[in-house]
Symmetry: C2
Subunit: 243 residues, 2 copies
């Protein structure tokens, strides 16, 4: 089976200071899951080169795919390229193809700030970005995406074919019992099916159920057996719904 792990590094003081609610992490989490990719870390850090460098280096070493969000643009607080370059101990250089695209876009109105957007870590490659004019910069296993949600989403969508892994299968059980009551059954199920990804999510104030249980695996047959086993363990009258 093809497994792939991923980390998302969100860069931006505006998120840490509560001025803006990040939506890229939730979008990425859902889309990566659909692709069969295991998102294992999301981290939000400030616009600071050493912090970006440290986090990107660490994630690059520990995960198959690293996606960054934000900190690309022409102003003083756009430090992601510099941070990623530092993570890989590379110089910043002007990418000729990016420069050409930027000059074509701004038609003569280009200044130093505009050209900053053609700067990339040495050896970076460019990926087609679907409908978006500017390609996505890639250095090793790190993909540098913009923070603006419309652009982040379009660029991530364009990268999907490259990221896809084997899919997850999921079943769900909704129960009227509390977590305290069902905990022992969940433990018993995991003894039989240690590879099962089993989540238990209480919901306060929902009239239909108290806990939603999610069962997941990349092996459909294993999931089906685990699902039937857990159902057989739970008190019948507490199972409200299955999916």
């Amino acid at each position: 089976m093809r497994d792939r792990t991923c980390a998302l590094v969100v860069i931006g003081n505006e998120i840490l200071s509560g001025k803006v609610q990040d939506s890229n992490a939730y979008f990425a989490a859902r889309e990566l899951r659909k692709l069969g990719v295991a998102l294992q870390r999301v981290v939000v850090i400030p616009d600071e080169v050493p912090t970006i460098a440290e986090e990107v280096a660490r994630c690059s070493a520990n995960f198959d795919i690293v996606i960054t969000s934000g900190g690309v643009g022409p102003t003083h607080d756009d430090l992601t390229m510099e941070g990623v370059a530092a993570a890989f101990k590379r110089k910043i250089v002007i990418h000729p193809e990016l420069e050409r695209l930027i000059r074509a876009h701004y038609i003569g109105k280009i200044n130093a700030a505009g050209l900053k957007m053609a700067e990339v870590p040495e050896g970076a490659i460019l990926n087609e970005a679907g409908d978006i004019r500017f390609p996505t910069v890639q250095i090793e296993n790190v993909y540098v995406l913009p923070g603006i949600p419309q652009l982040f989403e379009a660029k991530l969508n364009a990268l999907k074919p490259r990221f896809a892994a084997d899919p997850y299968f999921m079943r769900a059980i909704y129960t009227s019992a509390t977590e305290g009551v069902i905990a022992e059954h969940l433990n018993a199920c995991l003894v039989q099916f240690p590879e099962l990804m089993l989540g238990s999510y209480p919901r306060i104030g929902n009239p239909e159920y108290r806990v939603k249980l999610t069962l997941e695996s990349k092996n459909a047959e294993y999931l089906d057996r685990a699902f039937r086993h857990l159902l057989s363990l739970l008190p019948k009258d507490t199972v409200v719904k299955i999916e």
Copy 2:
């Protein structure tokens, strides 16, 4: 001036797999900012003891305050207490006061799973949690909060008086110019006012302005001077609104 830094560690597979959108980070970011506390890191990690231990240990060493969200409860995937204990190389023990509160709440219906919720790292202390029945567990500078938003928010609100630092002051400038045009003025302003926290946030498709600039400082007089200086640098006809 009293500065305080903070890291938020969000624990939960359900967030990484896109089943649930975290809202606690955005709530914490806004509330901490109002308190004058600098949130400098948000990290979302899976329900795994070694990962929780590593991240909590690292954040505890690097920030004044660490808040965890999620992974507390009676089931197999509630591993935050175990992770925090491992971060500080402490044993897990039953806290007598928590046990008393849990037994009183469940009135005789208590089982092993319920009692798991009285387990804390050795030496943990309990903090009053406002309207919430169960107090907030604290180990060193780490505060362990539940992931359910209603409970997370109530518990964080109860901790506010303890966290408060000197406030931030903020001004904003909305401009019809693009980032490429104003970047040089932002850089010039920062040369004069290197301590200024200056953010530049483009907005796609907004008819009123193209970029929102935020200026912040804990020193109101410094902020006022920086604000007037930046206004004097920007082309007059591009300033749409100030706050």
